[in-house]
Symmetry: C2
Subunit: 800 residues, 2 copies
């Protein structure tokens, strides 16, 4: 078991109901293709944790209140909307509604299959009056028909102990339901404010087995058409009826089904949404999608789904021998990253994907820094599409830069449509590194794909406009080079600092990548008005970039002066006071040496080429002792650098923490959606940690090494059109070319050409003193035999 | 003329109506005794800029909204309430309401007399139908009967060109009006949010010529009783009627008055308010106050008022020869400071006094740092009472410190009742210096008065609890001594910085003063649990206090790293972009070398003993070039240090700016109330600037010197029970003992005992290069002949 789920390499299964766990199982069982997302709620709608059907980019706007406003504060917020729910299929058994809270569930399990992309539900239910039915549903959100979801629904009367031969009267109601009631938001700023009845009716229509409801949001003015259609199995005596009203459409099927008979149907759900298209146009689009889906049929959709996934796993699978729980968690993570990014297609990849309303459905820097590396090396076209979204929002980012008295493009800290929605600027707008993170993702994508079309159409412009931002944010100072002052780095327990090492080094890379892109695309550079003077300025700024270092302590300073700040009193901080931000004011956090999440350590990873191994080991140890991991964005990065410094068991512990963040609900908020960046962090911990993969300067290199508990790890990657597999055991690594041209790389510094298969020995790890985390915040160490059975369940932090 | 007012040494007069100027004349003509405040609106209620009757400490509470809340954010705000208006006396002339917007004002002027404390109004009005009346009113808020205001009202029919012998029918309505409609607030965060109908009726009653209304605020639950009573002159045929309803009480007087006859009355207004006393108790209190006032009578109140003011001017007057405008402005300022502080009596002195709803009626550090020095040396018992208010709020400040994970007492950045109301913590809660400013005011008051009773009862505890705050805010660091990180200094264009010089030096003084107080009051120290270990800690912290200095530029850094920040591009900042905070985001202001108001320069003043004169001159020049004076808290301090550095004409310019801030509405917001701290800053510019007065270590010293434009300046002060006068001319200074024991001081470093009269020569000023302000932000230089006639009217900044 892992977090209550059964262990299995290719699926995630939950047995039993557990009403109090519905919130989180709905998140973990969410289906999505990056375009449409459906939380894994029960078909019959109730009991439910948090209903949720999400469309990428579909949000409601609301005013952001300020008791003391300031110039440039965003005035409007955006919140993802729970749209018209098409998942609901209710059942009445002899006039008794199927509700799992009543009667008895003799059997009940749900399972998510990573190879079919199908969420299944199998229930043997006995009604309070003793009638038994077996309900079997299969649900998918199509990777190939991106506007479409489908549900295969079968219900079969089963003989009860007192069951007679009489047929059972079954009534099935298949609904489209708008403005579902949802629970109110908590005071936790990280939990999305729930919006009540956000959809205003525009039209509703039904005919035959099909219905379409068209609504529009009140403030953001986005229009949505939601439709359903059905294939009902031939059923003698079946009575069907369809109806539609403002917020509800319903197909009602009634039949008397004998023992052994089955009432079966396939429900197709289609969505269309737009800020500009008319209601009739959207309705037509949805009806066309439904017609296409019916034409493909359930079996066809299923076959397409399996084929799509087979291709994905072919290029992306990660195998972990020696830790079944980790194996399952890693695949689940990859599956959800795929779901978040597969068909976003020039829309954002939110921090929670489309699995829940957490963070208001906003996208953050997490996407570029954690999620896109995974997609870049497993499904590069999805990474490209996500970056195209950023490119599409460039005018908004340019406008934002102007409001902030800056040049170039200042991308938002949090947003759905590209406009800044952060209401607390020290931890939002000031975190300008998001723009460098986008530039980094562009450069990585370019190096890994050599996609010259994207480079010319979007990549170069993104690099140039972000470089311009940095040039206007920094200045040359006689004291100490090119400084970038008054900004906020990744660590959210610091804010508005000078010369944050991570930010400065990412800005440095932004400059050099922009110069390189302009050299590759001189026409584009000319069009953008880039002059030789400007690129010279970038070059000099990059050369003179300030990187603060503490000579006394012999470590880098996360930002200017950080290492002189007061230490946090970890010994006297009780466990229930974590996450600290819920129990201490920002002012107290900002002024002390307490780190929420990898910041300097993230620089050690992403800009590792500018640090020596000795520096990394010292810096890592220093920050390890001060990092509390109140963020899910930390463990994966700590794992990567722990591995590089030879702390393999620590790397393993952090890898497991990242991978299990959601399965074990370590931050107590999976209810609101999965932590995509943490799932991606687990992949990073495997590939960049255990695999030692780096892509500095666009070159792919490896330095694999395993913790003692794992006997074998193998992962696959795409690189410049080729597919490779890296297989690691205790003392050697094997590189295999799966498809495409030979790949040039290095293995622990030795040049290797992957062409066919090559096996190399793994050198002994470097030996540095083992660092320690703050008292009470150590990662849970996994036992040598791996797997969860010897491991006690981690105590979840109260919130994060 | 000065800002539209007639020049005169002892009064301020405005001739004509100028409806568009009513807002600001109401503020400048406001009457107050620190307990009750009435804006200078016309008796008849309309036209009006902003109606306002304020009671010290009477506020309404309201939720503070946050789009993204954080731990420790204050949840409730407080806003001063416009209470029941007792000023209104309406007049109907032959059924025609006196409204200055209609008919013709043949004569009309209002005047505030600094020696009687009376606001007079003299109007000769012709109604639209040609009837003429002379209206003569005198208004005072009693300094001696603190719950009482009084109005002497006389109206006299005057022959018009077409006036016949027929008597004129006059109807006078004397009102008590609750929940007056007031204009809505602007988006400017500095303008108080207007509250609509904040008073809920509890009871109303009238009898004879007296009426009392009792109300209660809805949220804060404060109760107010407002009453009026009248002495009506014997008038043949007078018909009187009184009535009361929920929000209105009215005495109506009707009489036919012949030419040359006068309808006269005296209106007494009384207020009582409390968070705990009952309605009947408050009503009784108000009725007693009214009875007392009637017993004293108008002439008696007037005589008391004149006596009180004569005593004040005896100890506080400032004479300025050579600049009539400045002479008037300085006296106006002293008068308003007196009004703000005279009878506050353990309530706060708000930033605007009781002259308007600006800053929501909150008190800030301004009071201790700028206003209390004036009161300490002119009316020390008022300074004592203001500090007793702080002492009364100590439990709230201790609780606030605990919420902030600190020890001791953290006084609020802004408040009415002592609870923190600042909704933007980087510029509020983080500005911990307010607690050191309070400690500084306590120490100054003690040194200037030797008030051992206050020292034992309140002063020592205030010093100890604030010292404890600093001990918990700072830490010893191996890099560089005792640091205080992550706080905000006075300059509001920086925030959340390390080792702000002003803050650190004030904390240093806080430590040493706390130690001294404990030594003076060992019993109190024991009661407070102060141990030798604790005072040793304070001593070592004070000794090792970090004061950042830039070795390259040879100047102090306002805070760690300040001098390495990017310079502001003043050349390319258009004038309409000031104040910068309304046109640039905080992030851009915080990260650059742009200073809103004296910060390091304030340290040069208040902790001048730890700087050399050369350091002061260099520091002053450096910060002068970067200070934009978007705050009214700056010019006075710049004047003081300019004078010390020998820049006498610059000192004079800043003195005039501080003194004329409100008269000339330099920040375009006098409508919302006067800037008490700026008025106090003008006094500082005279006494500490031209007089060179310092009180470091409790010793009183002088170093007088005049700018060439002024021929003579004389000021009076109280010190340890004595009263002295310092008279300065171009080449010599005369010190006179007016009352009390001889006073020991120094004159430009030479020891002097003031006993009788002593005259000493003034040495030549030091010669440092003249510093310059940012382009476009230079103070307006006053011409040599002084006075305003040669001076063009300053262009007001758009807002501040």
């Amino acid at each position: 078991m892992s977090g209550g789920f059964d262990l299995a390499p290719w699926e995630l299964r939950w047995t039993g109901l557990a009403v109090d766990q519905l919130h989180r199982t709905e998140s973990v069982f969410a289906l999505s293709n990056g375009h449409v997302g459906l939380r894994g709620s029960l078909d019959e709608g109730e009991p439910v944790g948090l209903p949720g059907s999400y469309l990428n980019g579909f949000y409601e706007a609301h005013a952001l209140p300020y008791a003391e406003a300031g110039y440039g504060y965003p005035e409007a917020g955006q919140t993802v909307v729970n749209v018209t729910d098409g998942k609901i299929i209710r059942l009445l058994v002899e006039d008794e509604p199927l509700d799992m809270r009543y009667g008895r569930a003799l059997e009940h399990h749900r399972a998510l299959d990573f190879r079919t992309g199908v969420l299944s539900r199998d229930t043997l239910w006995e009604s309070p009056t003793g009638r038994r039915v077996r309900v079997r549903t299969r649900r998918l959100v199509s990777f190939t028909q991106r506007a479409v979801a489908a549900i295969r629904y079968e219900v079969e009367p089963v003989a009860a102990d007192d069951g007679g031969p009489r047929p059972t009267q079954l009534v099935v109601q298949s609904d489209l339901l708008a403005n579902e009631p949802i629970e109110s938001a908590t005071r936790d700023p990280r939990v999305a404010a729930a919006l009540k009845a956000p959809l205003a009716t525009e039209s509703y229509r039904c005919e035959g087995t099909r219905a379409v409801l068209v609504h529009r949001t009140r403030e953001s003015g986005l229009r949505i058409a939601a439709g359903m259609d059905h294939d009902v199995d031939d059923t003698p005596g079946l009575r069907a009826e369809i109806s539609a009203e403002a917020d509800l459409a319903r197909l009602t099927l009634a039949a008397d089904i004998p023992l052994g008979g089955v009432l079966g149907l396939t429900k197709y759900i289609g969505y269309g949404w737009s800020s500009s298209r008319s209601g009739p146009a959207l309705r037509a689009q949805v009806e066309a999608a439904l017609a296409g889906a019916r034409q493909t049929g359930w079996d066809g959709l299923l076959a397409e789904q399996e084929e799509f996934l087979a291709d994905f796993w072919e290029s992306a699978d990660v195998e972990v021998d020696g830790d079944d729980e980790l194996q399952q968690a890693i695949r689940l993570g990859l599956f959800h990253i795929l779901q978040a990014g597969a068909r976003g297609e020039s829309r954002a990849i939110p921090g929670k994907g489309l699995t829940g309303p957490g963070y208001d459905g906003h996208a953050f820097w997490d996407t570029e820094t954690f999620v896109l590396p995974v997609l870049t090396y497993t499904m590069p076209e999805a990474a490209r599409d996500a970056l195209r979204w950023r490119h599409a929002t460039l005018p908004l980012a340019q406008e934002r830069a102007r409001v902030l008295a800056k040049r170039g493009a200042a991308f938002p800290w949090r947003s759905i449509n590209g406009q800044e929605c952060s209401a607390y600027w020290p931890a939002g707008t000031a975190a300008f590194h998001v723009s460098a993170d986008i530039a980094d993702a562009v450069a990585r994508y370019h190096a890994a794909t050599q996609d010259t079309e994207f480079d010319a159409e979007a990549g170069t412009e993104l690099l140039v406009e972000t470089a311009r931002l940095w040039w206007s944010l920094g200045h040359h100072d006689p004291h100490d080079g090119f400084r970038i002052d008054g900004i906020t780095g990744p660590d959210e327990y610091s804010a508005v600092v000078d010369n944050n090492v991570y930010t400065n080094l990412m800005a440095q890379k932004n400059f050099t990548e922009a110069i390189a892109a302009c050299e590759r695309n001189p026409e584009v550079a000319r069009r953008l008005g880039v002059t030789a003077t400007e690129t010279d300025q970038w070059r000099v700024a990059a050369e003179r970039m300030r990187v603060p270092y503490d000579d006394l302590l012999q470590v880098h300073q996360q930002a200017e002066g950080f290492t002189a700040h007061e230490e946090w009193d970890f010994e006297n901080t009780p466990g229930e006071n974590y996450p600290l931000l819920l129990n201490y004011p920002y002012f107290e956090l900002y002024r002390r040496q307490v780190v929420k999440q990898a910041d300097l350590v993230l620089a050690l990873h992403l800009r590792g080429e500018v640090f020596t191994l000795e520096q990394k080991a010292r810096d890592f140890a220093y920050y390890e002792a001060r990092t509390v991991r109140d963020s899910s964005l930390s463990a994966g990065t700590q794992s990567v650098i722990a591995a590089e410094c030879g702390h393999m068991d620590l790397a393993y512990a952090y890898l497991a923490e990242a991978a299990l963040t959601d399965l074990n609900d370590l931050h107590n908020n999976v209810a609101n959606g999965l932590h995509m960046a943490s799932l991606a962090g687990a992949w990073q911990a495997i590939v960049a940690g255990l695999g030692g993969m780096r892509d500095h300067g666009g070159a792919l290199t490896f330095a694999p090494r395993l913790p003692s508990a794992l006997t074998r790890v193998a992962f696959r990657m795409c690189f410049r059109g080729s597919r490779i597999q890296v297989e690691i055991t205790a003392d050697q690594a094997t590189y295999r070319l799966i498809a495409g041209d030979p790949v040039h790389t290095t293995h622990h510094g030795t040049e290797v050409v992957i062409d066919g298969e090559v096996t190399l020995g793994i050198p002994a790890p470097p030996e540095f003193p083992t660092p320690s985390a703050p008292a009470g915040r150590e990662p849970r160490r996994r036992t040598k035999a791996g797997g969860s059975r010897e491991m006690t369940t981690p105590t979840p932090a109260p919130q994060a």
